[in-house]
Point group: C2
Amino acid sequence: MLTAIYTAVGELVGQGADKISFPVIAERAGVNPTTLYRRWPDVNALLEDVAIAALTRDGESVPDTGSLEQDLTDWANIIAGDITRPERARYLRAMVAARVDLVTNCAVTDARHEQAAQMTRRASERGEQTPTVQQILDHIVAPLYYNVIFALPLDDDHPRRLVRDVLAMTR
Amino acid sequence: MLTAIYTAVGELVGQGADKISFPVIAERAGVNPTTLYRRWPDVNALLEDVAIAALTRDGESVPDTGSLEQDLTDWANIIAGDITRPERARYLRAMVAARVDLVTNCAVTDARHEQAAQMTRRASERGEQTPTVQQILDHIVAPLYYNVIFALPLDDDHPRRLVRDVLAMTR
DNA sequence: ATCCAAAAGCAATGATCTTTGCTCTAAGGA
DNA sequence: TCCTTAGAGCAAAGATCATTGCTTTTGGAT
């Protein structure tokens, strides 16, 4: 039931459907539109639920190569490869559009925060000089998402360049 | 005519109206809905037109204090103050939602690119060491927009911190 | 096994949107 | 001046969406 709904939304968003409404989703999911109208206040609310579920299902393991620079580079490349996939980019945009009021944290960025913390912790245990988690979010995660959100090109070398920049700050 | 339409959209977006449709816009603008249906393929297209017009109408002069660090800090604070205004944030989101296909550049980021280039040019003429324009976009502009887009809190000190970080890269 | 309550389906209604053919107006060219 | 034409208004029709009261199903508790 819930799975069918989420799947339907996923397919619609994924294929870039322009008209995503409760009736449309309901038909594809094989449920009655009323169910959706009663369970979510509006389409955006449902969209956000699905987007969060889709974007936070991790399974992305945090790199652990023994070098922070390598870890960050691998990680940045994973993120870049992930969010530039068209259906992921669409999810991101849908989520952004749906988020109308200020919230203090969001599940998507929380996951990134956690991953960054893990890498820096390991690095400092090895005695490496590390940037702060906030710096990693500001200077690696943010630029990657920024480019995707605004549909700007993101070349293959970009992630590596960002990592080099952020490490240059700590020296 | 066109002005009335743009104004109507601006008011609706600005006050966070949830249902922004051609008929609603048309009534407020005092024009016939048919006109809108014939001129734009859909509401998002019109929204994007207006958003671009609103977000690129500069009038923001680029700081010129004689010090790159001060210029960048002032500039970052201007941007932050600008895009965190609720109606501006809404514009940004509307624009993001509307942008479905990849474009190689967008008017909004172009303006920032131009401003950054102006500041670094002046700084290097003074003989200062400067970060690249791309670095400024990645490490100052992107984090600011990222926070606003995801409705994350943006504290007052954030812009200054970003500038300090990016300057630390060049040393 | 029966009962109860929450959730889903159904169907009818009204609101809103979208499309379309036609008419009317206004600005520019012969 | 008259003609042309692009753009705007008008109105009707059909499509889609949104709401609501009522019925049916389902899953768990007694």
